[in-house]
């Protein structure tokens, strides 16, 4: 069996029709954009309750601080509900961060879990060996009320990523290349399994970057096999459950896909000769080598989001920015994804590097990624961005977004035009 099949088997509550599996859900995550309508509907139905307050995790992250009356109202509905339902894990302003960065950081995700959220990038949490799927508001509403969600059992696509990561190439480049290979619909109704030596050698942050963009190929969840790296990351939260890390890893192995299990497709990828990758167009599978794109002028550079707003990403960007200034033609914006990341980045001196270089440092928020709070583009403007979607209008009507790694974004900010990080000297920032 694959990892996903094992999770489906252990969480199966009902099979109301052949091929439809109703699963028990371990974690239901909520933010202020897609949850308020579910809350209002539950109230209207006279069913204002939750299946288990300890399994519901709530954050205000998309527009924070509120920018107007409408977003203030969304925050209030979520806040009042979290208090009314005695939900212990509610993260409001000052303690809030991007959902797919703060929830893993708090240790809410474990191998073998089922996770849903009214947010397509929920697939991020599969990095821990969980089945984590984005859903709509109605699925979220039922998840809140009953703790279940229905799925067609997904097939699994395995991506073996091997070779040696060249200098200047990061997890973001790998996932952009995978999406180019799969196309924006190549993984629909599939889980994408990221395997191979490159993934084994990756940090949890990098694995989250990979899994985060599984949805851009249509995937239901990205997953990585939980191992020593997973146990290290989770250890502060699981140390009472296991004698030692080795015991945790041994236990995690039960979720691993079995030898000889059934895959819809297996892709072997060698990254040794890969260039940094970047999108050109309005679809995330329109991916090119950075060398084909260098020299194109940009107006804004954005470093942040659930894809690349973690400490590791800020360290990489700062290693190129240290001692340098960004082009006066460019607006640089960086959004550390959580308060912890912000604090750690500050203690390591990264925030100072960004500010000295001429970046605006915002509070932790989804920010410019989807053009609904700060950092909106004017028509005709171009943004070099570490986010996950380049859809038409995504960052503002008439704007163009090029997706890239924090390294490409940093050197692009310095030059004011798309640039190749392999041509720059790096200085370890921390």
């Amino acid at each position: 069996m694959t990892l996903a099949e094992k999770i489906f088997k252990t969480h199966l509550k009902d099979e109301p029709f052949p091929g439809t599996k109703v699963l028990g859900i371990d974690v239901v995550m909520c933010h202020e954009i897609t949850t308020p309508v579910a809350i209002n509907d539950l109230v209207a139905r006279g069913k204002d309750r939750v299946f288990d307050p300890s399994k519901i995790k709530v954050v205000i992250d998309h527009v924070t601080p509120a920018k107007d009356t409408k977003t203030a109202r969304q925050g209030k509905i979520l806040r009042d509900w979290a208090r009314r339902q005695n939900i212990p894990d509610f993260f409001d302003i000052g303690r809030n961060g991007v959902c797919h960065a703060i929830f893993p950081e708090k240790g809410f995700i474990r191998p073998g879990y089922t996770v849903i959220m009214g947010d397509s990038h929920t697939c991020t949490h599969g990095a821990f060996g969980a089945f984590a799927a984005g859903v709509g508001t109605t699925d979220l509403e039922v998840g809140i009320l009953k703790g279940v969600c229905a799925f067609r059992e997904p097939k699994t696509i395995r991506i073996n990523i091997n070779g040696r990561m060249p200098a200047g190439v990061y997890a973001k480049d790998v996932i952009l290349r995978v999406i180019k290979e799969l196309t924006v619909k190549g993984a629909t109704d599939c889980v994408i399994e990221f395997c191979g030596d490159v993934v084994k050698g990756m940090s949890m942050e990098s694995r989250m970057t990979l899994c985060n963009m599984a949805i851009e190929a249509g995937g239901t969840s990205g997953v990585c096999m939980p191992d020593e790296v997973t146990a290290d990351y989770l250890w502060p939260f699981i140390s009472n459950d296991y004698e030692d890390k080795e015991a945790a890893v041994e236990d995690f192995r039960k979720w691993w896909s079995d030898e000889g299990c059934d895959y819809a497709r297996v892709i072997d990828m060698d990254v040794s000769a890969m260039e940094p990758q970047i999108t050109d167009g309005y679809k995330p599978d329109e991916v090119r080598d950075v060398s084909e794109m260098t020299g194109r002028r940009v107006d804004q550079v954005y470093i942040g989001s659930c894809t690349n707003g973690r400490l590791e990403d800020l360290r990489v960007a700062a290693s190129y920015l240290k001692g340098r200034q960004i082009s006066p033609e460019v607006r640089g914006i960086v959004s550390p994804a959580t308060p912890k990341i912000f604090r750690d980045a500050d203690e390591e001196g990264l925030i100072r590097i960004f500010m000295d270089a001429g970046f605006c440092v915002t509070n932790p928020t989804c920010g410019a990624c989807l053009g609904m709070s700060n950092g909106v583009l004017a028509p005709g403007e171009v943004c070099a961005s570490t986010t996950n979607r380049n859809f038409n209008g995504r960052m503002g009507k008439g704007g163009m977004v090029h997706l890239m790694s924090p390294a490409v974004a940093a050197v692009t900010a310095i030059e004011g035009k798309i640039s190749d990080p392999r041509k720059f000297r790096r200085e370890e920032a921390a």
């Binding site: 029709f17 209002n40 107007d68 929920t122 709509g136 229905a150 053009g371």
Partner: protein
């Protein structure tokens, strides 16, 4: 059950995403009514004008592959529902959008690419589609004549439509 069928809006492009169906800046709304004027506002398809009478009169959308990719926002089905469009017919759908349609008691009908081609032959001829929900069949009528097709719909999806949506189905059963 909702009403299904009527005038057709043809969107001749694959990979239409939910940002194009309803841009993120309108996600601060908490009523479906407020979304109504912004349907397909950022959609780039040759010859398509979101403000045209064609959109206002449409009851069915016929399009290509991977419709509704991108964000999980249920605001995409909602903006169709509030504009009386309860049926989308495509050669394939993104998973979350497809589930959101059935969860709202609306229809996401999958046909082969050839069958979609046969529907597109009626584009620009005042086409309307009748849906026979129980019979898993549809008929398109236009100045160019009539075509009848059958489709397959999963038992679960059909049950959701009959129940009026997933909340109703789940609340009765779990």
């Amino acid at each position: 059950m909702k009403k299904f069928g009527g005038k057709v809006l043809f969107l001749d492009r694959s990979d239409i995403n939910t940002d194009e169906i309803i841009p993120a800046k309108y996600l601060t709304e908490i009523s479906k009514e407020a979304l109504k004027p912004h349907i397909l506002e950022d959609l780039k398809v040759e010859g398509f004008d979101p403000a045209s009478g064609e959109v206002r009169e449409a009851r069915v959308i016929v399009t290509r592959s991977n419709f509704g990719c991108g964000s999980s926002r249920e605001h995409a089905p909602w903006v169709f529902e509030i504009n009386d469009i309860n049926v989308v017919i495509a050669s394939s759908f993104a998973r979350i959008f497809r589930q959101n349609m059935f969860n709202c008691g609306m229809l996401a009908i999958e046909l082969t690419e050839d069958a979609i081609d046969s529907l597109f032959r009626h584009k620009g001829s005042g086409a309307a589609i009748d849906i026979d929900f129980e019979g898993d069949a549809l008929m398109i009528t236009s100045d160019k004549g009539k075509d009848s097709l059958t489709y397959k719909m999963a038992g679960f999806d059909k049950a959701l439509v009959k129940a009026g949506g997933w909340v109703e189905f789940a609340d009765a059963k779990y």
